[in-house]
């Protein structure tokens, strides 16, 4: 545990650790293959922007009004409509999940519409609340467009008195991949920083090689540094892969500076690595370490960081928990550096908080290690 810092010893140790990582194909897979898969999935697959939704329709009225309304649904860009005669089969299709909702135009629709009334029945599949809300909203939009078309010039007067004209800054087309991709970067850096590190160092404890290294003149600080520096570099490498793919292949804008991105990502890796180190020193068992890392690092990054779910909408007690999730401070600056530009006021504050968590984790890891040896 004693002795002075020796550059040669340090670099030799660093070289050993690096070679050990590069030799294992699974490390490179997680650092480079997973980011590619994730970015492609977020880019193509996770489409929160609804495309054509399958619905059923039953028209029980032969009037002209019913036919033209049915035609409007048939030709809509939002719906893929299957018409059936018997409304009972629609209920069965809804249970089976073949359709997401259905429209029934009842018998007296044409007669009622002439007198300024008439009801269209829309039934949605509430077991997917989002899609259900989309179906109801688009059906209402359909009805308004249909009505405006029928009443012609008179339609303007029937329109809503107040219209809201929205402008979405930073992402005018509302492409959801623009905000999912910073989330993908956060996930990948959490996996490398916390999960991989926790596992690798726990293995050294499990096999007893950690104690062997501790018996050498290597100082504790040097030991920790040689263990985490390669993962730090790996984390930044996979972040770069994500960024290049996102910008070059998926056309995600990058309005901030590379320096800011590097600063944000580096600051996040400090608490991530610190947490990994702490978990491995405290558990010394790969299985327990992997489960704790999963529970305290990976799942919070996914669920509590504000990347999928709005933090302000969560119940108070969950919001309190999010304050100790380091990735909570990563997501807003990442989204900002990609979509809005540099905002050093925000970056500075979040970077300082992440470094604070990092310092705490490293200090705890040092303490736990010393205590374990003693």
């Amino acid at each position: 545990m004693s002795g002075t810092f020796d550059l040669l010893r340090f670099t030799a140790m660093l070289g050993k650790e690096t070679r050990q990582i590069l030799r294992d194909p699974s490390t490179l897979m997680i650092a480079f293959v997973l980011p590619v898969v994730l970015i492609f999935l977020f880019g193509y697959g996770v489409n929160l922007d609804t495309a054509r939704t399958r619905i059923g329709m039953s028209v029980q009225d032969r009037s002209e009004a019913a036919a033209s309304l049915a035609g409007a649904f048939q030709s809509s860009n939002y719906f893929e409509v299957t018409e059936v005669a018997d409304p009972d089969t629609l209920g069965r299709s809804l249970v089976a999940g073949h359709i997401r909702g259905f429209v029934v135009i009842p018998q007296d629709f044409g007669r009622m519409a002439l007198r300024g009334g008439g009801t269209i029945q829309v039934v949605t599949d509430g077991s997917s609340p989002n899609t259900a809300a989309f179906v109801a909203n688009y059906a209402e939009g359909m009805r308004q467009t249909w009505l405006a078309g029928r009443t012609g010039a008179r339609g303007a007067a029937l329109g809503p008195p107040i219209a809201i004209n929205p402008r979405f800054w930073f992402n005018p087309e509302l492409a959801s991949r623009f905000f999912l991709i910073p989330g993908a970067i956060a996930i990948v850096m959490t996996i490398i920083g916390s999960l991989l590190t926790a596992l690798v160092i726990a293995r050294e404890w499990e096999r007893g090689t950690m104690e062997a290294i501790m018996a050498t003149p290597l100082r504790r600080f040097e030991l920790m540094a040689t263990k985490v520096v390669p993962y730090f570099v790996l984390g930044l490498g996979s972040m770069t892969v994500c960024t290049l793919l996102a910008v070059l292949v998926f056309g995600v804008p990058f309005r901030g500076s590379p320096l800011a991105l590097l600063a944000i990502a580096s600051a996040f890796l400090v608490p991530a690595l610190g947490q990994g180190l702490l978990i491995s020193s405290a558990t010394k068992n790969q299985f327990v370490a992997s489960q704790i890392a999963l529970l305290t690092a990976f799942l919070p990054s996914l669920m509590l960081s504000g990347f999928l779910f709005e933090i302000s909408s969560m119940p108070r007690w969950v919001q309190v928990i999010t304050y100790v999730v380091p990735s909570r401070y990563l997501i807003p600056p990442l989204q900002t550096v990609f979509l809005a530009g540099d905002d050093w006021g925000m970056f500075g504050r979040d970077i300082a908080i992440m470094l604070g968590f990092g310092t705490m984790f490293f200090a705890l890891a040092m303490r736990v290690t010393r205590w374990r040896i003693a």
């Binding site: 929160l48 905000f179 992997s290």
Partner: protein, 367 residues
Amino acid sequence: MNSRLLAMIVKELWAVLRDPRGRIILVVPPIIQLVLFSAAATLEVKNVTIGIYSRDDGAASREFISELAGSPNFRRLIRIETPQALEEAIDGQQAIAVVVIDQGFSRDIAARRPATIQAILDGRKSNAAQIVMGYLNQVAANTGATLRPQPHRPIGQIAATNWYNPNLDYLWFILPSLIVQIGAISAMGVTAQSVSRERELGSFDQLMVSPLRTWEVLVGKMMPPLLLGLFNVTAYLIIIPLAYGLHMQGSLVLFYAAMLVYLFAVIGLGMAISAVSRTQQQAFLGMFVLIVPMILLSGFASPVENMPGWLQVIAEADPLKHFLIISEGLFLKGMTAADVFANTWPIAVIGVVTMAVAVWQFRARVE
């Protein structure tokens, strides 16, 4: 059951349950995850702060603002006086949206002309921003109805009903889907780790040269994750109705039957991963490379039918996708046995294929 197999199963259960930390880590976190994540995972947007930049002091604008203040979706309204302040409020994420009421708004309303309000929304959170926009439209419609009541009923009113979940409570969707995800993560994790640990320590080769047949080793290894999965799911099935008041509409027997097939498939995946890994680290990372995309493809984050065609084909090989349909269907819709079966056989096929890969890989490594 022969005694050799029984001994193997007892040994496996003992290996998992011996370590007190391991026992706690297998049982407690899934419960914490259910409680924490069902509370966190909400796609409703509540408690948001809205900025108001009003350059109109008329009655209509005051009416709109008071309607906005009365909406339960918005917690706080902040007054914005200058364009610079507007920019700062959005850039610094103090407000998710700013409503801009221009001069002449009240005049337009009074003159019965169509009136327009501008809304600036933070597109960095494109999803939340769209939902907030929906709320704003609602407020505008209410204000419009107060200020200028419609003389007659509109033609062709829509009566929308949401079956199975009348209030579109997102929690009702998330609880059945958490069973699917947490079940997969814990069962796959235990399988992948228990086999790869023996490989890493070298004791797996000893197992393979013992009189045990390959399938007996596999069955022994399958037992702990299977029992653990059943234990956790049973805990969920008790907690969900008691704590959240969500009762299963469909048949419990069907649920357990489909669940067994599902566990078989995810354990098969865990086996296949550990069969090709040499160390625990490789198995754990391999599991991640699979599980994260599988969750994304399952239809939990976005409907499968919105994905491009080639990705929908890949999603067919995802056991989570099929079991999510069953879990939601049985919990909320009271799905029939025929529908459950239609979604279960693909899971069984996936299970058989992954188990076959595992057996083949184990044999290949030994010889």
